[in-house]
C-alpha cells in the first residue's frame, strides 16, 4: 500500500479506519510514511499501532518536538513520534500539531516506558506539556533554568548559572507515592548520593539511592551534567561542520557517530555513496565497535574488581588508536566522514595496520576471557544481576548488545542492511536472560564477529573513488577548481553555501556499538540543519536503570551501570 507516496509493506487501512477523521493528512519523510493526526487522537493511535496484530509497531524509536516557527504558518509545534516494528522491520511516524497558546498533548508513558525520559526531554527543550506524565520535570537543563533552549527564539549564547545542585528529594517522594515498596524490617532507610563524581559513574552520572541495609529500595538517576547543547550547536553550523560535534557524542567510537550522521544527511539529499566508500565505512565502523566494546568491558571489569583486564584491553585499544590515527590524524575525535564520502582515501599502511589488528585482537580478547570467563568471582558478581526480559527491554527502547543479551537477536545490520552489510557473513551473538554476564559476553562475542566483517571487507574492497561526483555536495578537486569555470563556480558555491540539502525531513538509524544510533534531521533548504535530533541508544537504555537495580545490592548497582555502557556525551548530548 502507499501512504503519502511511500510504498509500505504494512497495510495501514485498519489504522486509518480506526482513527477516521483523527487523521489530518498523509505525508512522507525520508525513511518512512507519516500520518499527521490530531493531538487528541495520539494515545489511541499509539496504542492501536502497538497492539494491532497486523501492525505491531512495538518500539518507540524516538519522540521529539519540532519548533515550526520558521517552517510554516500553522501551529507552532509538531510532536513527532517515530515508531518501529521490530517484527516486520518497518517504520512509521506520527506528527501532531500542537499550538503555542496551550501546548499540551497526552503522555505516552502508559504505553511505552521510554516515553518517560523522552517526554521530559521534549518538555525541557521545547516547553510542550505532556498531560498525565508522572514526573514532568526538566531532565537535561538544570532546575533553575528559565525558558526552553531549543525554541528558535532562545538565544544560543544565553547561559544561565545554577546556584545549587538539585537534591532530588521531590522525585523520591513521587516514587514513594506511586510505587510503595514492602519493607522487610522497620529499620531506618538511608539516602545516599552516588555521583556525580564517583569512580564507577562513567563520566558524570548521579544517582540518589535509598537503601535499606545494603539493598537498593529506590534509585533516582539525574542526568544532564554533560548536556552541552549538541542540537542547538548543530542548528548553527553547516552540515559538514556538524561532523566534529558528532565525534563527541559517543566518544568511545567517534567514527560510528560520523557515519551515522552523514548517512542521515545523505538520505535526505537522496545520494548513494560509492562502493569503495561503503567498504571503508564498514571497516572503520567495525574497528570502532571493537574499541567501544573494549572500553565498556574494561571499565565494567575494573568496577567489579578485575583490574588486570583493563591493562590487557587498553593495550589493544592503543593499537587500534594508532591505526586510526594514521588514517584520520586523530586518536579519539576523528571527524573522518563527510557528506557524500570521506575526508580522504585510505593508504597502503592503513591496510597493513588493519591486518595486524585482525591478528592481535583475538589474542588480547582471549587473554582476557581466560581470566574472566570461568572466574568464580566474576560469575558471582554478574550472573543473574540486573536481568531484564525481552518484552520489557523493548518497551524501554533497548537496542544493540543490551537487547541482544535478553536473547532477542535484533541487529540493524541484519534486519535493515545498509552500506552493504548484507554481503558479509557474520553471526549475531545473543544471551539468555539479559543480565550483566550476558551483556559482557555478548560484547566480547561481537568483537570476534566484527573481526570477521573487517576481514571480508578488506579482502573485497573495490578500487575507485571514495567521494560521489556531485557538484553541490563534494568540493571539486584543485585541478578542476583552477582549470575550469564550472569547477571554480562549484567550489565557490560549496564554500559559501555549504552542502545543498533539499527541504524536508528524514530519519536514518544504524547499528552503533551501543545500539540504534539515529539522526532525525529537518531541513528548511538552508545551509544549516533546521533541527538535528539524535536518537541516542544509551539515553533510553539508562532510563531502565532504576528498574534494573532496585531490589538488588548497592554493589551490584555498580556492575549494572558498567554493563549498560552509558556514555555521557551521548546520554546528555
Amino acid at each position: 500500500m502507499t501512504v503519502g507516496s511511500v510504498e509500505t509493506r504494512t497495510d495501514f487501512a485498519p489504522f486509518e479506519a480506526r482513527l477516521g477523521d483523527g487523521i489530518l493528512s498523509r505525508d512522507r519523510m525520508v525513511g518512512m510514511p507519516v500520518f499527521r493526526i490530531k493531538r487528541e487522537a495520539i494515545a489511541d493511535a499509539l496504542r492501536f499501532l502497538r497492539d494491532e496484530p497486523g501492525l505491531r509497531f512495538n518500539m518507540l524509536t524516538d519522540l521529539t518536538v519540532v519548533d515550526c516557527i520558521g517552517l510554516h504558518d500553522g501551529d507552532r509545534f509538531d510532536a513527532v513520534y517515530l515508531l518501529h516494528s521490530l517484527e516486520r522491520r518497518e517504520r512509521v511516524a506520527l506528527k501532531c500539531p500542537v499550538p503555542e497558546e496551550d501546548p499540551f498533548i497526552d503522555s505516552a508513558t502508559p504505553l511505552f516506558k521510554n516515553a518517560d525520559w523522552l517526554e521530559r526531554e521534549a518538555y525541557d527543550q521545547y516547553g510542550v506539556v505532556f498531560r498525565g506524565h508522572p514526573n514532568l520535570k526538566r531532565i537535561l537543563n538544570h532546575k533553575e533554568f528559565v525558558g526552553h533552549p531549543l525554541r528558535k527564539d532562545y538565544d544560543i549564547y544565553k547561559g544561565q548559572w545554577l546556584s545549587e545542585a538539585d537534591d532530588l528529594l521531590d522525585e523520591l517522594e513521587i516514587r514513594h507515592r506511586l510505587d510503595p515498596k514492602p519493607r522487610s524490617s522497620d529499620r531506618e532507610t538511608m539516602t545516599l548520593n552516588m555521583g556525580p563524581s564517583h569512580p564507577a559513574s562513567h563520566g558524570t552520572l548521579r544517582n540518589l539511592v535509598e537503601l535499606e541495609g545494603e539493598t537498593v529500595l529506590y534509585a533516582i538517576p539525574e542526568i544532564g551534567y554533560l548536556h552541552r547543547g549538541f542540537e542547538k550547536s548543530a542548528e548553527t553550523h553547516e552540515y559538514n561542520q556538524v561532523v566534529p560535534y558528532t565525534d563527541r557524542l559517543n566518544y568511545c567510537s567517534a567514527l560510528i557517530n560520523n557515519v551515522a550522521y552523514v548517512k542521515a544527511v545523505e538520505e535526505l539529499c537522496g545520494i548513494e555513496i560509492t562502493e569503495r566508500c561503503k567498504y571503508i565505512r564498514v571497516i572503520i565502523t567495525e574497528l570502532s565497535r571493537i574499541m567501544d566494546h573494549l572500553v565498556c568491558n574494561a571499565a565494567n571489569l575494573v568496577d567489579i574488581g578485575a583490574l588486570t583486564n583493563y591493562w590487557y584491553l587498553f593495550n589493544l585499544r592503543e593499537k587500534i588508536y594508532n591505526v586510526l590515527e594514521s588514517l584520520t590524524g586523530a586518536r579519539l575525535t576523528n571527524s573522518y566522514a563527510r557528506v557524500g564520502g570521506l575526508w580522504a582515501d585510505t593508504h597502503p599502511e592503513f591496510e597493513d595496520g588493519v591486518k595486524m589488528l585482525l591478528k592481535e585482537t583475538p589474542k588480547h580478547v582471549n587473554d582476557t576471557l581466560k581470566l574472566v570467563a570461568r572466574n568464580r568471582i566474576f560469575l558471582d558478581r554478574t550472573v543473574g544481576v540486573g536481568a531484564i526480559g525481552t518484552e520489557e527491554a523493548i518497551s524501554y527502547g533497548f537496542t544493540g548488545p543490551c537487547l541482544r543479551a535478553t536473547g532477542y537477536e535484533y541487529d540493524l545490520r541484519k534486519e535493515l542492511p545498509y552500506d552493504g552489510y548484507d554481503r558479509f557473513e557474520f553471526d549475531v551473538p545473543s544471551g539468555h536472560q539479559g543480565d550483566v554476564y550476558d551483556r559482557v559476553m555478548v560484547r566480547f562475542a561481537e568483537i570476534f564477529e566484527s573481526c570477521r566483517i573487517v576481514e571480508q571487507a578488506l579482502a573485497q574492497m573495490p578500487a575507485g573513488p571514495v567521494n560521489v561526483e556531485h557538484p553541490s555536495i563534494i568540493i571539486p578537486s584543485k585541478k578542476e577548481t583552477h582549470g575550469s569555470i564550472e569547477g571554480l563556480v562549484n567550489h565557490f558555491k560549496i564554500v559559501m553555501h555549504g552542502v545543498d540539502v533539499p527541504k524536508g525531513d528524514g530519519y536514518a538509524g544504524i547499528e552503533a556499538a551501543n545500539g540504534e544510533l539515529g539522526f532525525y534531521i529537518v531541513s528548511d533548504g538552508e545551509m544549516k540543519p533546521y533541527k538535528c535530533k539524535v536518537r541516542a541508544p544509551c539515553f533510553q537504555i539508562y532510563s531502565a536503570y532504576p528498574r534494573l537495580v532496585e531490589g538488588g545490592m548497592v554493589a551490584d548497582a555498580v556492575a549494572v551501570l558498567g554493563s549498560l555502557n552509558v556514555i555521557a556525551g551521548e546520554l546528555d548530548r
Binding site: 538565544d155 547561559g159 563524581s197 565525534d247 566518544y251 572500553v295 592503543e318 588508536y321 586518536r331
Partner: protein
C-alpha cells in the same frame, strides 16, 4: 637543632655546642641535610594523587594516559583517588556545564591544601567549541587553574608534560600554598 646552641645539658650537649653537627661519628653518606619544606616538596612532587574530574571525551584520553602505554605511574601519580580529601591534584578532563559548575567548585573546596589544578582540554579551559547556553566558558570562572592543556582532546603526552610542569613548580616553590 641549631637553636639548642648553648642550652644543651644532656648527653649530646657537647656535640652541638658549636651550633653544628660534628660529623665525626656520623658516616657522611648516610645523612643528607636539607630544608624541611624542600624535603616535603620532594615528597609531594613524587606522590601526586590525582582526582580525575572526568566528564567527557578527555576522560577517555585520561584513561589512556593511565594505561600501560603512557603509564602515569612513571611520575608517581598513578594512585587515582576519587575522594577529594585524599587527593592533591585535580585534573578536570572534559566539558563542564553550568549544571556541573557548583559540583566542581564543591569538590575543589573539599580538597586539602596544598592542591593544584590541571585543566585538560579546550573545553575545560575555555568551553572549546561548545559556545552555547549550557556550557561553562572555562573552569577558571569557578576555580583557580595552575596549568591549561590545549587540545581536543590533548594527547596523553601533553597532559604528562603538564604533570611534570606542576612537579617543577612544586619543587621551585619554597612555601606551597
Amino acid at each position: 637543632m641549631t637553636d639548642q646552641k648553648g642550652k644543651g645539658s644532656g648527653a649530646g650537649a657537647d656535640r652541638v655546642a658549636t651550633g653544628r653537627f660534628t660529623t665525626d661519628e656520623i658516616p657522611p653518606e648516610s645523612v643528607m641535610l636539607t630544608r624541611l619544606d624542600a624535603a616535603l616538596n620532594w615528597a609531594r612532587k613524587n606522590s601526586l594523587w590525582p582526582l580525575p574530574f572526568g566528564t567527557a571525551c578527555c576522560a577517555i584520553e585520561f584513561m589512556g594516559m593511565v594505561s600501560s602505554v603512557f603509564d602515569l605511574s612513571r611520575f608517581g601519580a598513578e594512585v587515582v583517588r576519587f575522594s577529594p580529601r585524599q587527593s592533591d591534584l585535580l585534573i578536570v578532563a572534559g566539558t563542564v556545564t553550568y549544571k556541573q559548575a557548583p559540583i566542581l567548585r564543591r569538590i575543589y573546596e573539599q580538597m586539602a591544601e596544598p592542591k593544584w589544578v590541571i585543566s585538560m582540554g579546550v573545553c575545560a579551559s575555555s568551553g572549546g567549541f561548545y559556545d552555547n547556553y549550557c556550557t561553562l566558558q572555562g573552569i577558571d570562572k569557578v576555580i583557580p587553574v595552575d596549568y591549561y592543556v590545549a587540545g581536543c582532546p590533548p594527547r596523553p603526552e601533553a597532559v604528562l608534560q603538564a604533570l611534570v610542569e606542576i612537579q617543577n613548580r612544586i619543587v621551585a616553590n619554597p612555601a606551597p600554598r
